[in-house]
């Protein structure tokens, strides 16, 4: 079964509409992000901000100061890029309770092309003190991440993809901010993945198993704060790490993992991700192949 994270996001917001603290702000992309679903059940707490991301973030900051839990929603490229300095100074610096929920992350935006493909947003958000970064792997985890972000007080960046991803979690799954999830245990290599790459990592582990290579697969839904303990442990157990993400290898999950390992457990690591390039138009599958983010690419990387 495959459900898109943005649909799960729209559903989660809709289910939570009775919480009077929740306000949804939209920069004219609510139909695509699914934030518009909230408007249908709760028009009074849905705020059209127009095509003005900087103002949207600032408005969210003011709402948060007054006790609201604002979800500022738009595409990842605009949320983190266009409004970066507003996020820095009006949200992260005063540590306000603003949730930035961005869809259309990564290259699988597809046909819209490089202008719309967000490949550096994790790097931008990781660099900000006080910022928590969540990137769920499927629809169930998306909903859980939304719930967890509400329980947590402070700025959270929630990074969601546009395309449908296989559901890998049980409906009773409980998400905890800051915890990585070991989905499979193996002694030969640890594949550490986030977002849409997690289900691909599981598939890759199956293929490796057929070749006699036993892989650990780790899902990292909280990119910041990173679960250092699990990262160190799986590196120690396997001595060989592969990271996989739909984001630049500069400043994303791979960088974060390498930062921990370099200090704590130097381990040879292969980073799968966008290799310091912008995206381009094409179908999601074409682009994943072009940027070497397929199951086969993970299998090959695990065999280096």
């Amino acid at each position: 079964m495959s459900i898109t994270m943005r649909d799960a996001f729209g559903q989660a917001l809709t289910e939570l509409h009775n919480d009077p603290r929740i306000i949804v702000l939209d920069a004219d992309l609510g139909k695509a992000t699914r934030a518009i679903n909230f408007k249908k059940v709760c028009p009074e707490r849905f705020l059209d901000m127009g095509i003005a991301e900087q103002d949207m973030i600032g408005t969210a900051a003011g709402l948060a100061i007054c006790g609201k839990i604002p979800f500022a929603t738009t595409f990842a490229v605009f949320a983190t890029g266009r409004a970066f300095e507003q996020i820095r100074n009006s949200v992260a610096y005063p540590k306000l309770n603003v949730k930035i929920a961005a869809t259309h992350a990564g290259i699988t935006v597809g046909y819209d092309g490089g202008s719309h493909q967000s490949v550096v947003d994790i790097a931008l958000m990781r660099s900000l003190p006080n910022m928590v970064i969540l990137q769920p792997a499927d629809a169930i985890e998306t909903k859980q991440a939304i719930y967890a972000s509400i329980e947590y007080y402070g700025p959270v960046y929630i990074r969601l993809s546009r395309i449908a991803t296989p559901v890998i979690h049980d409906p009773n799954y409980k998400f905890k901010i800051g915890k990585a999830e070991v989905l499979r245990k193996g002694k030969d290599v640890a594949i550490i993945a986030t977002g849409i790459m997690v289900s691909k990592a599981l598939e890759a582990a199956d293929k490796l198993q057929a070749e006699g290579i036993k892989a650990t697969v780790v899902n990292v839904p909280t990119i910041k704060p990173l679960d250092r303990e699990v990262i160190i442990k799986v590196a120690q157990e396997t001595g060989k790490v592969v990271t996989a993400e739909e984001h630049s290898v500069i400043g994303g999950l791979g960088s974060a993992v390498c930062e921990v390992l370099a200090e704590e457990m130097p381990t040879k690591t292969k980073m799968l991700g966008i290799q310091d390039r912008f995206g381009c138009s094409g179908s999601p599958d074409e682009l994943l192949k072009h940027f070497k983010l397929t199951v086969e690419d993970i299998v090959n990387a695990a065999k280096y």
């Binding site: 705020l47 127009g50 600032g58 003011g62 609201k68 540590k95």
Partner: protein
């Protein structure tokens, strides 16, 4: 507050600004001196607040969007009793609650962190929207600089305030005509401010930003105006009250030395 009282308070606040910036050896005296009179009317007369409970939910809010005028805000807050006046002498020093630019996490009475220009009105709108949603009657005041309105985000927020009919928002434009590189007109023309704001759907008033009665009446009138936000364009003098600083662009971000400090304080104390 009568006129004599107003003059005493504003004189003391101006002296404090000079002393604190001189003690820091760094800071922005010009734009701090230009906003003193407006802030004094707000904090000593018009705003609903509780000094002993700075985060009181029903309070009126104030955002100093032109955050570099922090010494002006700090001096007013200290004079009003939010923290001891001796704290002013720690301005910009390591471990001080008085950061170089306003920091809501550190300073009692500061409602929003600011400093990066152009962001305060958006935040004010968020506070005002929250108040409307909760049927609360607090008001939100925001002070922007005239140079600051060159920032694009300000105009996004001006649209938002009008769109959502935020009549609980009052924006002061501290119109002293100067910014770092010189007169606004020469750096990047912003005129006509009034007509632009009217075209964006705001009520607009123009006042002398140093006259107690005009400031006071404008604030009262803004409270009565419904269905739209109000902008009060306050004609001010950068460096107001200190002869050698007045209308001098070079006093935007320079601290007075000891001699200049003594001269400035002597002048201020002689005006009463």
């Amino acid at each position: 507050m009568d006129l004599l009282e107003f003059r005493k308070i504003t004189q003391q606040i101006r002296v404090n600004i000079i002393e604190m910036v001189a003690a820091a050896g760094t800071g922005h005296p010009g734009g701090s001196l230009s906003i003193v009179d407006i802030l004094t009317v707000l904090y000593f007369d018009k705003m609903r607040l509780r000094v002993e409970e700075p985060k009181w939910e029903e309070r009126d809010r104030f955002i100093l969007s032109k955050g570099h005028a922090a010494p002006g805000l700090y001096a007013v807050l200290a004079e009003r009793g939010f923290f001891p006046k001796k704290t002013l002498m720690t301005l910009r020093k390591f471990n001080s609650i008085l950061q170089g630019h306003p920091d809501m996490k550190n300073t009692p009475g500061v409602d929003m962190s600011s400093g990066s220009l152009g962001q305060g009105l958006s935040v004010a709108n968020g506070m005002a929207l929250s108040g409307k949603l909760d049927a609360k009657d607090y008001r939100v005041y925001v002070m922007v600089g005239d140079g600051e309105i060159q920032e694009g985000q300000i105009w996004e927020a001006i649209m938002t305030a009008a769109h959502y009919k935020l009549d609980n928002v009052t924006m002061f434009v501290d119109h002293n005509g100067l910014q770092i590189n010189g007169p606004n007109d020469r750096v990047m023309g912003i005129k006509p401010i009034k007509e632009k704001l009217l075209a964006f759907g705001w009520y607009v008033m123009e006042i002398d930003g140093h006259t107690m009665q005009e400031i006071s009446e404008a604030i009262d009138k803004a409270k009565m105006l419904k269905g739209k936000p109000t902008a009060i364009i306050a004609k001010t003098v950068k460096g107001k009250g200190v002869s050698f600083m007045e209308n001098q662009v070079d006093w935007h971000g320079v601290a007075p030395n000891q001699e200049q400090k003594h001269q400035a304080i002597a002048e201020l104390e002689g005006t009463l």
